[in-house]
Amino acid sequence: MTKSLVAAAAIGLLFGMAKLPFEHSLEQEDRAAFFHGAKLSLGLRDQVGQLGFLAALSGFRSLVADFLWIEAHTAWEGTQWARMALLFNNVTTLQPRVLMFWDMAAWHMAYNASVAAFNDRRQPRKALRLRAQREYFELGKDFLVRGIENNPDRYLLYERLGIVERDKFGDHFAAATRFGQAAAIPGAPAYDKRFTAYELSHCPGHEREAYERLLALYRMGKQEWLPTLLERLGYLQAKLNVPEAQRVYIPPIRPGQKP
């Protein structure tokens, strides 16, 4: 009986050694397809803690994430912003590949919590309220940045980050970069390309590049001749002193405006 135990153990060990490289390569392949979320750049101990938490849930992960998500919405109804942030953190850890979690978490932080913080009458000093508002902007941005780390193959979060950079931080260059990243991903909507160009057109020193982009888009046809594009094109044509003969778009003269 002992002999057979030893034989079985030997087989187990040999198989263990054989399977290691195979598991490793399968893991690499999974990562390339962005399964299981981004590799955590944490030390071993932290990884064990983090993934130990995940392992303890094992098959329950998605169920727990869903229930925590619902709890987060209950917290929203009670405007418990800090609790929401905590819950969102847990949900996105459990399900890093579900875009909606990152998106909504960022939205709640950057658009709802920030407004609440700014209008918080319990804080009489405006400077502190502005600072709190800014912190929520950063929180929202952080969710999107981490979401992108885990989902670099999908355009949505790049796009959302572009909008946050544009609307909340006023950083047109950062916004342009993000819209550009979104546009580079297959399947991205057509407007991402336009947004890249728009944002770039607001960046000092990048007018020429923006103009080239807008021109290329204009040349693609009528579906691109949207009001904002035409307006920006007209603006850049004037700014760059493009010769009349080369101007593709002549803005209409508004009443009271000098030609």
Binding site: M1, S4, G16, K19, L20, H24, H36, G59, F60, R97
Partner: protein
């Protein structure tokens, strides 16, 4: 009288078959019958079916991705239920037969121990298959009901020329073809856990011990990946921790790799390479654990 007698020249009445699928199937169907009578099977199955069934109707949040919760709950239930069933049912197979002495009556017949074990395993595999098929059928029904609800809402106020596109969009996010490899991998994982539990039960002294060991391995199997990656990449770990990491990496299965659920629900497409590799890994674990179980059982003193 005490000298070596001449060997018998009379052949046995029934000719002995070296390998008989009929024998294996007789044992398998008996095992299946026995397991289907287990109360724990009914409770677990009922619970799983309840969850899957009700997920079609509950949680009607407009802001949710419509099918996500349903898929999460259904696939999650399938995964958990088959895990629990495979461990609990397999853990009592051998101990019960030894205690009831029915094992002796079977092995005293011309049944090779290999066929006996194969029959037992086959019985469990059929049980798991039936359970998964039942749950999948209910899942499909629930998904269909949900799809109809979503379609009814989605086409309201949509201009006629876009209706088809909307319908296609909804249908594409409800039934994705990736659900099939996902469920297949759930089945293979449960088969792996069954074969591992059988292995432990061949040398364990009680069913409780078997169950505990299997549960522990299940949990550790979900973090085995870090141990392995750490072992293979980090240069700075000490010799002692390297030994410990090697221990975990070599002996435990990487169960995290054997799950496609999260990615299927998140909308990832599963390439056939990844599916075949994942399935192949699971199947080879199953074969090795079964082989180890046979080696130990074949020489076990009964």
């Amino acid at each position: 009288m005490m000298d070596t007698p001449p060997a018998s020249t009379l052949p046995p009445r029934t000719p002995h078959k070296l390998f008989s699928p009929a024998r294996i199937w007789a044992i398998a169907s008996n095992t299946l019958l026995e397991l289907v009578r287990l109360k724990v099977f009914y409770f677990l199955l009922l619970f799983a079916l309840l969850i899957i069934g009700s997920s079609a109707f509950m949680l009607d949040f407009k802001f949710q991705e419509q099918f996500q919760v349903l898929k999460d709950m259904s696939l999650g239930s399938m995964s958990i239920f088959t895990w629990l069933l495979s461990v609990l049912a397999t853990s009592m197979l051998l101990p019960k037969e030894i205690e009831d002495r029915t094992l002796y009556t079977i092995l005293a017949k011309p049944v090779p121990r290999l066929e006996y074990l194969m029959g037992k395993l086959l019985g469990i595999l059929v049980l798991l298959l039936i359970s998964i098929l039942l749950m999948s059928a209910l899942f499909v029904v629930a998904l269909y009901i949900k799809q109809q609800q979503v379609l009814a809402d989605a086409v309201q106020g949509v201009p006629p020329e876009q209706v088809q596109a909307v319908i296609r969009g909804v249908k594409a996010s409800s039934f994705t073809v990736s659900l099939i490899p996902c469920i297949v991998v759930i089945y293979i994982k449960s088969a792996l856990l069954a074969s591992f539990t059988l292995l432990v039960s061949t040398f364990a002294t009680s069913s409780i011990f078997t169950v505990i060991v299997s549960f522990v391995v299940y949990f550790i199997g979900h973090v085995q990946g870090i141990a392995r990656e750490s072992l293979l990449s980090s240069p700075h770990t000490t010799a002692l921790s390297k030994i410990f990491l090697a221990f975990v990496a070599l002996l435990f299965p990487d169960l995290r790799l054997l799950s496609l659920t999260d990615d299927v629900v998140a909308g990832n497409a599963i390439s056939s390479t990844i599916f075949l590799k994942t399935a192949g890994l699971g199947v080879s674990y199953f074969c090795v654990y079964s082989l180890m179980a046979y080696l130990i059982f074949a020489f076990k003193e009964l």
